[in-house]
Amino acid sequence: MRKFIPLLIYLNILWMIPENVMPQSVYAFSLNNLNFGDVFIGYSAEVRHTDENAAKFVFLHTQWFRKKDFLVTLTLPRFLRRGSDRIPIKFKRRHAAWSFRDREYGRRRFNPNSPLYIRNVGFFRPVYIWLGGKITTSSGNVPGIHSGTIILTVEIL
């Protein structure tokens, strides 16, 4: 039995290295921006999560041989701005979805205004998030590019 002790120590160190020596154990990337394209002043525009212009994120964790629970929070803009001019933007349940696979089938919708819990995610298993939205412009809006920022926060519980 004693002769297995060095092996056990070695395996234990291998287990610990990825999450300890590598300081980062969860990675998130933005794969696509949310783009409403050209919109006529006075009209509204909507992008669904299935639209190719929807925002797209992916995240994964690197804690070897472990399943982790995630808390996903989206910090959403209330307005798209160009100087002092602003356009209200709304995010509803029909605009947001997540899936373990990068495809339309099997996506699960969620309310982007509330935290999302995703449980039992295996290591190196990507989780995809898609987000659309709806804007309503008014005749007083000025022409040009209006923008805002979506921030995705992923936390291992």
Binding site: I13, M16, I17, E19, N20, V21, P23, Q24, S25, V26, Y27, A28, F29, S30, N32, N33, L34, N35, F36, G37, D38, V39, F40, I41, G42, A45, A55, K56, F57, F59, P77, L80, R82, I87, I89, L131, G133, I135, T137, N141, V142, P143, G144, I145, H146, S147, G148, T149, I150, I151, L152, T153, V154, E155, I156
Partner: protein, 166 residues
């Protein structure tokens, strides 16, 4: 022994600094575009009275003597201009003969006067030049009508339609 102990201690304590949350951001973007309008500025396409003298005649109206339109839209965008020849029918009389109005369309950019005109064919694009934040292009419509010796006397009337789209 101290080295091994120190290494193990490092492995154990470094877990405290392990990052368990991460942020990623995406941009939301929209480009607001002014919708297109076309308005008549001045003029008409009235060819006046023509004396039928038993021969074929070509009635001509120069673009600067015809109708001037202005296209209003988003600065630096291009608008597609489409139009077709118009048929003029004899008013209040049953007559199968009609006159064909062949339009001649020109543009002068954001210049309200008829200077340096460029011909605009149907289906071609016109650039909307920036004029105090509004895209503008002035369009001039003239044309010609061929009157045959066999046409009846009377008032001929028709509708000429010009359309613009992004």
């Amino acid at each position: 022994m101290k080295l091994i102990f120190g290494f193990i201690l490092f492995l154990l304590t470094s877990a405290v600094f392990c990052q368990n949350n991460v942020n990623s951001s995406a941009t939301v973007k929209v480009k607001l575009v002014k919708s297109l309008k076309i308005k008549k500025v001045k003029g008409d396409l009235n060819f006046g009275e023509v004396i039928l003298n038993g021969t074929n005649q070509n009635l001509l109206k120069k673009p600067d003597e015809g109708i001037e339109f202005v296209i209003l839209g988003h600065p630096h965008k291009e608008a597609i201009v489409t139009y077709q020849p118009a048929l003029l029918f004899l008013e209040n009389q049953i007559d199968s003969k009609s006159l064909l109005f062949m339009p001649a369309v020109f543009e002068t950019g954001d210049n309200i006067d008829f200077t340096s005109p460029k011909s605009v064919k149907s289906g071609s694009t016109v650039a909307l030049e920036n004029n105090n934040g509004t895209g503008k292009a002035f369009i001039w419509v003239g044309g010609k009508i061929k009157v045959n010796s066999t046409h009846s006397e009377g008032d001929y009337k028709g509708t000429f339609t010009i359309s613009v789209a992004y």
